[in-house]
């Protein structure tokens, strides 16, 4: 069919070479826990986007997210709150202290709770700086999570799913296969059973989260993982959970684990 041939499966003939020097692996062997649910390979969402969108992510000057990364880096060294401290006062150079952090989030904290990167940031703001918490989807939060995420770019996603994380992971998995809303669709219906296919003009990817927060051309702005989850559940004619909720953090852990081994792409570009 001529009409549907415009998009194809994950592109085969392109490489995500950042700034002409650093190549990011856009596919990886599927993690064992998937037991073949996605075949033998997991693919970055980048491979499902069109040529122009892919190109924008190859060059940090063309990638609109870098405006937000720069804002995040500025905030990193700006004192705030009653303690009049900046992130840099405690964590020094973001390039060193935050290297690898994104790749392991979300994770279980020392109180046994499952925390996403946003929780850690707000914990430092409220308990260590005496500053106000940022909204989960606020621009400030996305700026900071983009700046922190960038420090893991190229590193393989490696969330822990065993030990204390296991019960959270199980719940996230259950949610992934739950058919929500009046359309009765689960994440798996779109991103496992049908990736590579077209649902009207949308070319379905595996719904991986290794590039978040990312720039979405359609929204002309930065989008967090939970914001994307909200949108996908709403599109089932369903009622999503809140961004930052326990449910969406569990889902985040499970979805992240489906991409274990993929390179962190933060900050990615999608349309």
């Amino acid at each position: 069919l001529a009409l549907t041939a415009a998009h194809a499966d994950p592109v085969q003939d392109d490489q995500l070479l950042i700034n002409g020097e650093e190549e990011l692996a856009t596919q990886a062997p599927a993690p064992d826990h998937l037991e073949g649910a996605l075949g033998d390979t997991v693919y970055s969402g980048w491979l499902f986007r069109d040529t122009d969108t892919r190109a924008m992510q190859k060059d940090d000057f063309d990638n609109p997210m870098f405006l937000f990364v720069d804002a995040g880096l500025e905030t990193w060294s700006t004192p705030e709150g009653t303690a009049d401290k900046s992130c840099a006062d405690c964590h020094n150079d973001i390039e060193e202290s935050m290297k690898g952090v994104r790749a392991q989030m979300p994770k279980v904290n020392d109180k046994g709770e499952l925390w996403a990167l946003e929780n850690y940031v707000n914990d430092c703001r409220t308990n260590r700086m005496g500053a106000e918490a940022w909204g989960w989807n606020s621009q400030e939060m996305k700026n900071m999570t983009a700046a922190i995420g960038l420090q893991s770019r190229g590193m393989p996603v490696a969330v822990k799913i065993d030990g204390e994380a296991a019960p959270f992971w199980e719940k996230g998995k259950e949610m992934y296969y739950t058919r929500f809303g009046q359309l009765e669709m689960s994440c798996a219906n779109c991103h496992e059973d049908n990736f590579g296919k077209n649902i009207r003009s949308d070319h379905l990817s595996q719904g991986q989260i290794n590039g978040f927060p990312l720039y979405r051309l359609k929204d002309q702005g930065a989008v967090s993982m939970h914001q994307r989850f909200v949108g996908c559940v709403r599109d089932t004619r369903g009622v999503p959970f809140e961004a930052g909720s326990q449910e969406f953090r569990e889902l985040e852990l499970y979805v992240a684990s489906r991409g274990n081994g993929l390179a962190v792409e933060t900050p990615a570009v999608r349309h």
Binding site: G181, E184, S201, V230, V233, R237, V239
Partner: protein, 159 residues
């Protein structure tokens, strides 16, 4: 078959289509997922059905199905089978069943029930992401007559 006969008698007996619309909860399913009775008693209009099937806010069947008989409709999806020839593969009763709620024909189908009001998990009011305040806030995706119109169009898809 029996349903069709009964229906014919009723309609013939009273002249005009007076049959009350069948509500989503009262749909008379056959074992095999087909529905032999019309939901409205009013014959569907294929032209209307075509509009329903190709309009995003209505059936949006082309989101998942390609229809070569409609070459002007852009961005036809390829999730489900191409629908050309559907009337050769299925009877009218079977097609009605598939459109009303395909899960009676294909148990784990990805295809949404078009004339169904529950039970659902966390249903929202259309695409508002808001929970219903009262049961009537969840309306079937298509009206009974729209289902009949779609079935009438599908019946034209012969190869």
């Amino acid at each position: 078959m029996q349903h069709i006969l009964v229906l014919t008698v009723v309609v013939a007996g009273l002249g005009a289509p007076v049959m009350a619309e069948i509500a989503p909860a009262d749909v008379p399913w056959a074992e095999d997922g087909s529905i032999s009775e019309s939901l409205t008693g009013t014959p569907g209009k294929p032209e209307e059905g075509k509009v329903v099937m190709t309009t995003n806010a209505l059936g949006n069947c082309v989101a998942c199905h390609a229809i070569e008989a409609l070459p002007d409709v852009p961005f036809q999806g390829n999730i489900g089978p191409q629908l050309d020839g559907a009337a050769d593969r299925w009877s009218e009763a079977q097609l009605r069943g598939i459109v009303v709620d395909a899960k009676h024909t294909f148990p784990d189908s990805f295809m949404p029930g078009m004339y169904k009001v529950g039970p659902f998990i966390r249903p929202g009011v259309a695409y508002t992401a808001k929970p219903p305040e009262k049961p009537e806030d969840i309306q079937p995706i298509l009206s009974a007559q729209q289902v009949e119109d779609v079935v009438a169009y599908l019946m034209t898809l012969k190869e």
